[in-house]
Amino acid sequence: MSASDLNTPADSTEPIIWDPVFLHARREALVIVLIFTACLAWTIGWCWWDGYNVAVDADAMVPMVFGMPRWVFWGIGVPWLVADVVTIWFCVRLYRADDLSDGEEDPLAEASDA
């Protein structure tokens, strides 16, 4: 296999033909990094604002939602749920069902079956 997945033409003046799987994978990777950044910003941002160094009241109570500390619910529980929904959206709507099948069996693996 060549070092890259570019279908490099023999003549360098010809335009490079990119492997569509590579192009799709690159676009999907970019979207995944954006989703990761959003999750990171939401989770860390909210927990920093509402969870760190919080003064508890005289009864040592923190604000709660559904029995959880509020910062856990809004800073971790909700973004986790949203991340699941976004994952489903990404897989159903954005992820391309590329044909990955190619090539031949590795000669060494073939040899082992000879």
């Binding site: 999907e28 990171l40 159903v92």
Partner: protein
């Protein structure tokens, strides 16, 4: 029939039966996988399942391999010790499926098909056209995964010990091994029960992995993945019920403060007429008196004894607990009263570095810490863990090799959805379960690694279904096994495929390769 029912009615034998059924199913799956192996391209099938994993097999093997002993032993221990902040510690898992599977999955699978790669070193060497890259990756995989194997073996053995502790044939075997290993260097000083469980566990995993290869690992992972989900699904409502509701649990945790480390001595009124042993984990209470305005609660962290003719122990390590009223209700009263005739004298006290005498520390960040002045999870560390969980999963060799094995892109996208849901129903509920454990089982800070099996026992005892303990303990056991078998296969494939076949015997024939694989693995 009556005798069988009588046997099954005891919790210890129920645990044994559960374990036996579990191992039998695992072996059966390995046998079925071995039958498939005989009909396919040997190396590709043995190490990669012929790149034909469907959605369920791919998703569950990916998820179960990631969920190791750490998920069911270390993680519950952390939740128990540090409280709600551990939800932030693990929060990166919300995005792990997308990053670990989606970022590189399609390309890894495509490149592996193009080059015929069946191991990660194969793939890296071909992709970068560099033998050095291939060799470096072999060294890294074998070296680092070997360390990880040790902890998984240990974790599996500890769980098995907990499972079999009260089984009489096991106790007889422990006594026999203790006699056999007495006086043998290293072995003699090891816990004989641990040695037995380590041997049994190792044999079980090595046999089914060796015989069935990748497909056996995948099929057992699928089963183990469902066992883990079932364990968590059963424990969650019962734990909340036992703790009196989640709201009540969090309110109670708001009032808790972390324990002090103490050194104390125990003394009796008279010299002991025979040796008196105080086991590790014993509850001790210094009652309210004129000198002490309120009762003090301690739990020992080591065995101690008062020798015959003496009246006091040597100073021993313990923790001093500041219990809430709800926790006090759950202190085992029988144990607490057993050594009440002894006088507790505190020799020294060391407060936790963060959170001492600070109500609310278990329900806010950064959480209590015995050793760090910044608390358990300073903000900078929370950011680091978010990155670490996510991107280290993408580069974890056992995850990468699975990305080479799925059938097509559609399988990958459906598997990502499945794994995302799987992690959500495993990790977040585990935080809730072991926050509840702080109320239900107080005083385990000194041995928090045991909290998972202890909680399983407490739950099955509370609902009077002893057999359930075996099922619940099977969940962490499955987690350890599913990770361990994958690591074993990774290491053996690196040695056989990348060292032996690539460097020594490229024309390895099928009939010989089969024998060679097994021979090399057993070295």
């Amino acid at each position: 029939m009556h005798s069988l029912l009588a046997v099954a009615d005891t919790s210890s034998n129920s645990a044994l039966i559960t374990f036996a059924i579990y191992i039998a199913v695992v072996m059966f799956l390995a046998w079925c996988s071995g039958r498939v192996l005989k009909k396919r391209n040997f190396l590709s099938e043995y190490f990669l399942g012929s790149r034909s994993l469907g959605m369920w097999a791919f998703a569950m093997t990916f998820a179960a391999t990631s969920a190791s002993g750490g998920s069911f032993i270390g993680f519950p221990s952390k939740v128990y010790t540090h409280g709600w902040v551990v939800a932030l510690w693990i929060a990166g898992y919300m995005i792990v499926p997308l990053v670990a599977m989606g970022l590189l999955g399609k390309r890894i699978n495509q490149l592996a098909r193009k080059s015929g790669a069946i191991t990660i070193p194969d793939l890296l060497r071909d992709r970068f056209e560099s033998k050095a890259m291939g060799m470096l990756s072999i060294v890294v995989i074998v070296f680092f995964l070997s360390f990880n194997l040790v902890s998984q073996f240990k974790g599996g053995s500890i769980i098995l010990q907990t499972l079999l502790a009260d089984v009489s044939p096991y106790q007889d075997a422990v006594a026999g091994v203790a006699r056999l290993t007495h006086g043998i260097p290293m072995l003699g000083s090891a816990d004989p029960g641990y040695l037995i469980c380590l041997t049994v566990f190792t044999l079980a995993v090595v046999i089914y992995t060796t015989y069935g290869g990748f497909r056996a690992v995948v099929w057992t992972d699928v089963m183990q993945g469902f066992v883990m989900v079932a364990g968590v699904a059963v424990m969650l409502p019962l734990a909340i019920w036992m703790a009196g509701g989640l709201q009540s649990t969090t309110e109670d945790m708001s009032r808790m403060t972390p324990p002090n480390g103490v050194k104390l001595t125990l003394s009796a009124a008279e010299n002991a007429s025979q040796d008196l042993t105080i086991p590790k984990g014993t509850w001790l209470i210094r009652r309210q008196s004129d000198d002490a305005p309120k009762a003090r609660y301690f739990r020992t962290l080591a065995h101690a004894s008062i020798a015959k003719g003496k009246s006091a122990t040597e100073p021993l390590e313990a923790i001093e607990l500041f219990l809430t009223p709800s926790q006090l209700e759950n202190v085992p009263s029988q144990q607490a009263s057993e050594f009440n005739h002894l006088t507790v004298t505190v020799v020294s006290v060391s407060e936790p570095e963060y959170g001492a005498d600070q109500p609310g520390v278990y329900v806010t960040a950064p959480g209590p810490s015995a050793s760090d002045q910044l608390g358990f999870l300073p903000l900078s560390l929370a950011v680091s863990f978010f990155f670490m969980w996510t991107f280290s999963s993408a580069g974890q060799p056992s995850n990468m090799v699975r990305l080479m094995a799925f059938r097509d892109s559609r399988t990958l996208s459906r598997a990502m959805i499945t794994v995302a849901i799987y992690y959500s129903v495993i990790y977040f509920p585990l935080v809730i379960i072991f926050c509840c454990a702080r109320v239900v089982l107080p005083g385990w800070e000194g041995q928090s690694d045991h909290i998972m099996p202890e909680m399983a026992s407490a739950i099955s005892f509370a609902i009077e279904m002893p057999w359930l303990a075996g099922l619940l303990v099977a969940a962490p056991f499955a987690a350890v096994m599913s990770t361990l078998d994958s690591f074993l296969l990774m290491i053996s494939s690196a040695v056989v495929r990348d060292v032996y076949q690539r460097q020594i015997n490229p024309m390895l024939l099928r009939s010989r390769s089969n024998g060679s694989l097994i021979w090399l693995r057993c070295r």
